[in-house]
Amino acid sequence: MAAIPHLPEHQLAAHAAAYAAAVVEKRRRLVGGLILLVALVWAAGWMGDVRPAVFVDNLGRFASYFGRLAHLDSGALVLSDPAEWFWGAKKWLRLIGETVLIAYLGTMLGGVGAFLLCFHAARNVARTRWSAFLARRFLEFCRTVPELVFALIFVVAWGLGPLPGVLALAIHTMGALGKLFAEVFENIDMKPVDGIVASGGNWVQAMRFGVLPQVTSNLASYALLRFEINVRGAAIMGFVGAGGIGQDLLEAVRKFYYSDVSAILVLILVTVALIDIATERLRHALIGRETRA
């Protein structure tokens, strides 16, 4: 057996003391952090009007709410009579289609806007410093204001209907995608661009032949991801009158049409899942193409 060298006692003592001190210091910080956390939780609970007693008393209602969601007005289980459960299927499917369309149009509009702006927002390809600054601040504004706030304002300007929903999603998408696109641009290999500039190409040519071939599949992948998010976003646009299935869902919840609520929720869940699967496939295909190239 190999001999394990032992430090002499007096040398070991110094290390042991240092270790103990480090442990004490770490524990002290941990306890301090915990105290701070508890204080924050208490303050937030006070501010947020948390009533654990109400919660415990009414937790049964939460469970029974889902129970009621699973029953028709007649008292039968929803699954026993799917035709009755989905009595409004025709209308709801049309609204779901509208929702997906709103998401698509919003993503397209926002994506095009983001694409145009990211040439200015990306540090390595931006032509002037002030345009880069302006583009960055503008994109920040677009993604910081929640899309529903834009939708609320746009509903007043454009009237009820899908148009304000499309525009609200487009603005938010532009902000979110613009940032991601700019990051993609900043991560490219600049050698092709240098090569084109060196052989006498202008800025547009450098962008077209030096930058775009490197970024297209990444941009498309981000846009698809955003489309997925926007379908979820479009589903609640109707809460403020900006089109899609949301309006009917809100009405059903407010008027306690339980089986309608569950039917619409199921439709939304299925649609979102289908779109998730489809976009994931597409994105993998895109990424595969990029690695092959």
Binding site: A44, G45, G48, L105, P146, G161, L269
Partner: protein
């Protein structure tokens, strides 16, 4: 200077029409247009654009209406300036709601993370080997995640009544799904060698988890929680639209009564708060992740 490559280069440098023809003759594959790929790309773009305009037609959106709304929006923006809160009492009420918003985001995120922790372990491949259990947990988390915070808020209002508490619970439920998924991925990505090391020196299985797994996973989880706190601050500003507390309630009211100066002031308040929280939280995130790198 008599090799074929050198003559090729010389011809290229000369840049004459003949040399291009010679190059095309020598490297036909490089100069042939890839008709198939080009047709596919153009066809794809045409479909996207056709869908775009078709979509506008399907939704019955006329371009006249689009332009008309632009004019009205311009008027609103003019009316928004300068932002103003009116009476001081109103400002105080708004600040109170802003604090409420932060409380909703903070508590909602924290509760969601706490609830999701056990589910994260249940959905992780290296902890629970049974695929059936994992499948059920994953699907459950996915469906919880697919329902928007606002919809959860509507459901919770039925249970605990109007107010910020419903908002907290809504954020808790909708993020619980996302956290469960992210936590399970973090646990699956953890390096098993640390656990093996602890076990090989005679540590108990729980020692392996405590000293091998937790130090790897905790910083990742903490940074995810902070990131969600940021995005939840945004969600919490709109949750008031359905009556679940926070500044959204006031924003909704002021837009309804068309008090544009108040609206722009409220939007500014939201902007400043969200930016501040972003700054603080991204600093904290970098600190947390930095510590993780230090301990490796």
């Amino acid at each position: 200077m008599s090799t074929p490559v050198a003559t090729g280069i010389a011809a290229m440098l000369a840049g004459t029409a003949e040399s291009r023809a010679a190059l095309v003759a020598r490297y036909p594959a490089q100069f042939r247009a890839d008709v198939k790929a080009r047709a596919a790309a153009i066809g794809f773009v045409v479909i996207l654009v056709a869908l775009f305009f078709g979509g506008f037609a399907l939704l019955d959106i006329s371009w006249v209406r689009v332009v008309g709304g632009m004019g009205r929006l311009g008027e609103f923006v003019e009316l928004m300036l300068p932002p103003s809160f009116g009476a001081t009492a109103r400002l105080l009420a708004w600040l109170h709601s802003l604090a409420e918003t932060l409380a909703i985001a903070f508590l909602g995120t924290l509760l969601a993370a706490t609830l999701a922790l056990p589910f994260g372990f249940l959905a992780a491949r290296n902890v629970i080997p049974s695929w059936a259990m994992r499948f059920v947990t994953r699907r459950f988390l996915d469906s919880v995640r697919s329902i928007d915070t606002l919809i959860w808020a509507l459901i919770w209002i039925n249970v605990v009544g109007l107010g910020p508490f419903a908002g907290i619970l809504a954020i808790m439920t909708s993020d619980f799904g996302a956290f469960g998924k992210l936590f399970s991925e973090a646990i699956e990505a953890a390096d098993g060698k640390a656990v093996e090391g602890v076990r090989s020196t005679g540590g108990h299985a729980m020692h392996g988890v405590r000293f091998g797994l937790v130090p790897q996973v905790l910083p990742v989880m903490a940074s995810q929680v902070l990131y969600f706190f940021e995005s939840n601050t945004r969600s919490a500003t709109i949750i008031g639209i359905v009556g679940a507390g926070g500044i959204g309630t006031h924003l909704y009211e002021q837009i309804k009564v068309l008090d544009w100066q108040a609206v722009s002031f409220l939007v500014l308040m939201v902007l400043v708060t969200v930016t501040l929280i972003d700054q603080i939280s991204s600093r904290l995130r970098f600190a947390v992740i930095g510590r993780a790198h230090g301990s490796h």
